[in-house]
Symmetry: C2
Subunit: 249 residues, 2 copies
Amino acid sequence: MADPNLAATKPVIVLVQTQMAVNIGMCARAMLNCGLDELRLVAPRDGWPNEGAIAPATDAKRVLEGARVYDTVAEAVADCHQVYAATARIRHLNTPAVTAAEAAAEMHVVTAKNADHRAAILFGPEASGLDNDAMSYADRLLHYPMNPEFTSLNLAQAVLLFSWEWWSTRAGATVSYERDWELAPKSELEYYLNRLEAELDQRGFFADQSKRSNGMQKIRAFFGRSNASSQEVKSLQGIISSLTSEFRK
Amino acid sequence: MADPNLAATKPVIVLVQTQMAVNIGMCARAMLNCGLDELRLVAPRDGWPNEGAIAPATDAKRVLEGARVYDTVAEAVADCHQVYAATARIRHLNTPAVTAAEAAAEMHVVTAKNADHRAAILFGPEASGLDNDAMSYADRLLHYPMNPEFTSLNLAQAVLLFSWEWWSTRAGATVSYERDWELAPKSELEYYLNRLEAELDQRGFFADQSKRSNGMQKIRAFFGRSNASSQEVKSLQGIISSLTSEFRK
């Protein structure tokens, strides 16, 4: 199923001086989960292409195959219009910080106006994160407000959280499907409830007849909010039949 | 820095029949990143405790140490009031599906009313996901509307996305900090701009004096939106001084 929204310009993920190829593979997988497929690598420590990235990418191998490699951040973002730097560090530069959700929202607004506008997000090496030189290329810092007692996010998870915010806030994003089965017409449920009431009444369930109506209202509300299908109403009927039958000899 | 919101009841992450201990460790890390720390394990394949989970958990080791192990899903959720099952599968049960964001929002609403209310989220084994029996314990299915062309999410990333939605939508969540440096008073910037204008004018920058005002307005707008600090204005002054000085002999 092709998503028409994917035709719009997508942000580019730029991994700067990544140390472990396995993490590049996991980033590719996280990207493609969220509809992103353009990966750029700045001076990956162990070279490129790298066999170690393939297995963790699972079916996102095509993201790896399309990855381009650059020597410097400047070259990697040369054709981009806006650059974000993902960082948890104290800043030494006066660059405004936004959350991943805010960055994603900004990209969608800009892309809606100009489909040629490209945004890039820089992610630094696993151990140290982006250095000040790399961050100086960014218009915005991308900040993840994690648990202040434990902010250490691994590389693929940082890529995933941004990608997820971008994906889930794009135009036409699926926000919910509450139910995808066919509801029984209320008449079927009512037929069942009437039978239930009769069976209960025959067995003296409603000791005080003045409370019979109120009791059935509660029972009706309970079954009603279950949004039963016709098949489920049939099952409920079968349960009454079974419960009211004689023991088999 | 303690977060007062963490005092409220937090959802419990339940990993069902997890195959690889490394994934349990990565889940613990993702949980603690987002302020969650109660982990329950139903019949982990390789037993528990398991050394293989410790390194990938990094500093979230205490989540592993507090994990409780159960034989069945029923026992693992016995003290919980609402159960969600994370799944990408076609459903065979008529259980309503919600997104991770919707589930998180629902939990916050319920917890605000009753701090004793506990929610649990079930995550299935890596290869196959939750089976129908496990899913039958859920009131809601937790659905991740990923890229329809590539929906395969790894276990720790599924745990992270739910945890992130819960964390980033809790009461008092940090949504943004746009800027955390002190702005220079506009008078400092204006002093700089006046000097710049004079220096430019002396060098014939404004060929047509009728356009001088308009040209300076554009320059002012450019420097103004940069939200300069006093230190940065000093640097700008220094740049003019340098540019207008003689070459050093």
